[in-house]
Symmetry: C2
Subunit: 605 residues, 2 copies
């Protein structure tokens, strides 16, 4: 009869085979035991408490390790070195489990297992002598207790220098290990306390980076800046066209974005003292065009129908092949692209919000030049993108500004009929950013100076924001187009899932625009549905948060890599129904409960 | 009851499970079925003849493929698409098996399975459209029928250009696939008929290269040249010292050997018309110092005791990281080093001679500056190396020459007591090469002008070879030292295996020196034992032949990579017994049957 392993306090009972290692039995059941040193019995992280059971005697080394951790060697045993001889009852202390990191600073908090794809182990290589003149790397394998250690090709070149000098100076070295016990680097001395990763949100307009301690999962610094490509055109499409027509421009675009990211890395070095050489893992989340530009891949396919990129899932790239100034032996991982216009930033958003695991029907929405949407129902996930145009990013509107100092980001219709505005930074208004535009339109709709179909009913045909700043009819038109694109995309997605808007349990709005958006006003102009009880949630920069999750957890990567296959895509471009709905949705009209704004309008007429 | 698959004409019977694919059943039994297209049912190479059994109906595509190959679709089925429903009797035609290539042009012929680590498949990528705007690489995966296709990192960058233009021009592309369905490259059009590999013998003095058609296993060109490092010192030790003392010299040494190999590649391009870009796989077999120099790895460890290199087994390296001018996406594989002074050239020799599979007790011997020896017995293999010094390479002897035009390579004592010599090229003698030295010493021993202990008994204290060329006492001393080192190494190896010399079933002598050596004279001076019936065999350039085997067969690589672990090493440096034996063996004396030369001498005295 097979022995049982019972886990207390839960009482969960696992079947084992005689001789199985306890760590293997727990691993089979997905219990996230911390096997940091790779089952070598040296890190002491997997000590479990034995409540009852027949145990083989432990050896001197294990006992010393237990005492060093203030554990009773007679009751605490290393799971990775304990074969099961019969029924066992155990308790797994919290510290024997892989720690969890809380990755979201804003939005909906999510915990993930701290399970990065790179780790460091300090080791004394086994020293060669005349009777066993083994190669230096063989000595490292022996020291690590990893005979199956594989070498990353580039490591061969760099590890040699450190190992060659090690025997004479400090014999301790630190091995940097990737997934599957791949040797990624060798450093002098014990550097295990310093291993860092970089999460990058590679936006069309702005960049943001988190520097993360991969030992603890803590963010120790962040930096933000503008994407240097902006001088080539504010929106992605103009940059794609530029690169498509002129290979020199393509190179210049790549160099611009590289310089911007490398600038952030310099900033982080200054603010945190972390050297670029200590960064072994980097995750970049950006839209499809941005990650193509970043790698210097041709964007020709993105310039013309049917609009395709080169890759969905890219292998982790050696840093020195990308031009990023981190450790040249580090790896650069790209958040996978779902489709040409639903890129790695959206995949990161799906990761950050843990969309697949959320209950009910959930719409994830990222508003920018493209509106990207992912609808999760019990029958799976579907993504789509709509060309919203850059109105909400403050482009294409005469008084538009991005969310910067001097931009009106808030406007309220007071009881006396005047409109009160606030600017970012509190100073004089220089223009209006996305959230401000929504507020202003909503205010004038309420005041009756703007008709639902977008006509300005004031004699001057302008909507004043401040004495110096006002919206023209053309500006209103741009906002109508942007809003209609988003609404039509949402309607198409809901219809494809046979869902009414009131059946949405959550609407998650990502991105900087979302952060300042007034839900009530967004509902008033019909940009977002009006849903009860806080179902509309602003989840912040999910591109950056998702990049951080992909940095901290190899499991999250595996999941993310499945998304391009399992998330269905709903193509809208050249879809006749979409064109029809788009035209219907040009009006500023609330989504009715149980239907869509245009459907309500049809009922009215 | 499990169904059986019976194979005729052998009658061999394999157990199967219902539903198993026939190809899987055969693979499990190590039957080398040619699954070239990776079980996709498109290459038509694995058609087997069905003699009897219950078969599911075949589809239209399989039938068309059978007819295209002049096979009867009712009797011939693709093993990779045939699930077993019940007992089957089959015949596997020769062409359904992986072809064998005969790799040795000289020495002992050996057949290996043609199973290179790279292959090409022509494919039309599945084309994206507006309803399925999948990424270009996803379309390639679909076209190849390989959803699990992995990308080599460097491939991402280069494949993009070809795939980006493919839809508009010729939609056919050729995928270059490595082991484990790793995409290594994408080429325009159908280039499947052109896939080449390069085998390189990287010698201290000379280089040799074979250009191989990886589709057929045929050598289509070869080239040879001098190692450009020679200007830094004739022997390895002086080059190691130079690099050890001065990093600039280390760089210069690397550049010199790279330039020499790249020169051979240019030569091969001229003589065969094969472009370097068509070479996707290169194997380099050289001694440990040479492969370290080639990669630019520090040789510091090789300069001082305990004399260790950086690596034994290196991962296949991206060509662009090595400086070799082959396809930058190609891989460079290094024949593994057994020990610091038993390098990849000897591993290649073990592969070329199939040493582990030979019957009885076999001694493999490569004579150069180092004498490297591997003894195979029924209890395994043991290697050792002895510092023979460069005498047999024509260095350190006043009239020494390498095996070049004008070198005396043969000398015979005629009945009238005169010594008749032959030179390479037939012209006037300019010096004496290794095989000539052995002949001259043997002739003078026979004539009585030289004592066994190396004293010249002629009044002029010289051994004339031609009127202008003669050996001095110092030259004789050098030859004694070289010969003693080899003999002592052999004795130590034999003693460690408790073998008498007469128990050797074969002595395989590799290298250029061996090719011209007169066995009888080598036995007369005691360099080689005198064994009956052609047991001493000259096996030629096994370094090059082995490199070719490692180029043609992934299985041979796996075997070779196990050698550093399974071949025991017998260290001789600073071994007291070795020093003792070395001194004993300084005499020119035949190995006695049943013992060793020194043992015989002791009996005499």
């Amino acid at each position: 009869m097979s022995p049982y392993v019972s886990i207390f306090p839960s009482g969960r009972r696992l079947t084992a085979d005689f001789g199985d290692l306890l760590s293997d039995i727990l691993a089979k059941e997905d219990i996230p035991l911390n096997l940091y040193c790779g089952r070598r019995g040296v890190c002491g992280k997997c000590f479990v408490e034995i409540l009852s059971g027949d145990l083989p005697p432990s050896d001197e080394r294990d006992q010393a390790l237990a005492r060093a951790k203030n554990l009773d060697p007679s009751r605490h045993r290393l799971a990775c070195r304990l074969p099961v001889r019969g029924d066992l009852s155990i308790r797994i202390p919290e510290q024997a489990l892989i720690p969890k990191a809380r990755i979201l600073s804003r939005g909906t908090g999510k915990e993930i297992f701290l399970d990065p794809t790179v780790r460091k182990i300090a080791v004394r290589p086994s020293r060669p002598d005349l009777h066993s003149p083994h190669a230096l790397l063989e000595g490292l394998k022996t020291g690590l207790g990893l005979p199956g250690l594989r070498l990353a090709p580039e490591t061969l070149f760099s590890a040699a220098a450190v190992l060659s000098e090690a025997p004479e100076k400090d014999p301790m070295v630190t091995a940097v290990l990737g997934v599957g016990d791949e040797l990624r680097g060798v450093e002098r001395g014990d550097t295990t306390s310093r291993l860092f990763g970089l999460a990058i949100d590679l936006g069309t307009t702005t960049l943001a980076a988190d520097l993360v301690d991969l030992g603890t999962g803590t963010v120790i610094g962040n930096a933000a800046g503008l994407n240097g490509q902006s001088s080539f055109g504010a929106d992605v499409v103009s940059r794609i066209s530029a690169a498509f027509k002129d290979p020199a421009q393509a190179v210049a675009l790549r160099n611009a974005v590289l310089a911007s990211i490398n600038g952030l890395i310099s900033d982080l070095r200054r603010t945190t003292g972390v050297e670029p050489g200590e960064i072994y893992e980097t995750v970049v989340a950006g839209n499809t065009a941005m990650n193509h530009f970043f790698l210097g891949l041709p964007v020709d396919g993105l310039a013309v129908a049917p609009f395709v990129g080169v890759f969905s899932v890219a292998p982790p790239l050696p840093a020195d092949r990308t031009g990023l100034r981190v450790n040249p032996l580090g790896r650069i991982y790209l958040s996978p692209n779902l489709q040409s216009f639903v890129g790695g930033d959206i995949t990161a958003g799906v990761v950050a919000t843990d969309l697949p695991s959320r209950l009910g029907n959930v719409l994830f929405l990222d508003l920018g030049t493209n509106g990207e949407l992912v609808l999760k129902t019990d029958r799976g996930m579907t993504s789509t993108s709509t060309a919203a145009g850059p109105a909400f990013e403050g482009m294409s509107v005469s008084c538009g500004l991005s969310a910067q100092t001097g931009a009106v980001d808030k406007a309220v219709l007071l009881e006396d009929g005047t409109i009160d505005v606030e600017t970012i930074g509190g100073g004089p208004a220089r223009g209006v950013c996305g959230s401000g535009l929504v507020d202003v339109i909503a205010a004038y709709l309420r005041r009756g100076d703007l008709s639902a179909d977008g006509r300005i009913l004031r004699p001057d045909k302008r909507l004043p924001v401040t004495p110096d700043v006002s919206l023209t009819s053309q500006d209103v038109r741009e906002i109508q187009l942007a809003s209609a694109a988003v609404k039509a995309g949402m309607r198409m997605l809901l219809e494809s899932a046979h869902l009414g808007v009131e059946e949405l349990d959550e609407v998650l709005v990502a991105g900087a625009f979302g952060a300042y958006l007034n839900v009530d006003n967004a509902a008033a102009i019909g940009l977002l549905p009006r849903l009860p009880g806080g179902r509309v949630k602003f989840v912040g920069n999910t591109s950056l948060e998702g990049a951080r999750a992909l940095l901290l957890s190899g499991r999250e990567r595996l999941r993310a890599e499945s998304f391009p296959r399992i998330i269905r895509h709903l193509p809208l471009a050249q879809d006749k129904a979409f064109q029809q709905i788009f035209v219907e949705e040009l009006s500023f009209r609330e989504w009715p409960a149980g239907g869509t704004p245009a459907a309500a309008k049809q009922e009215e007429s």
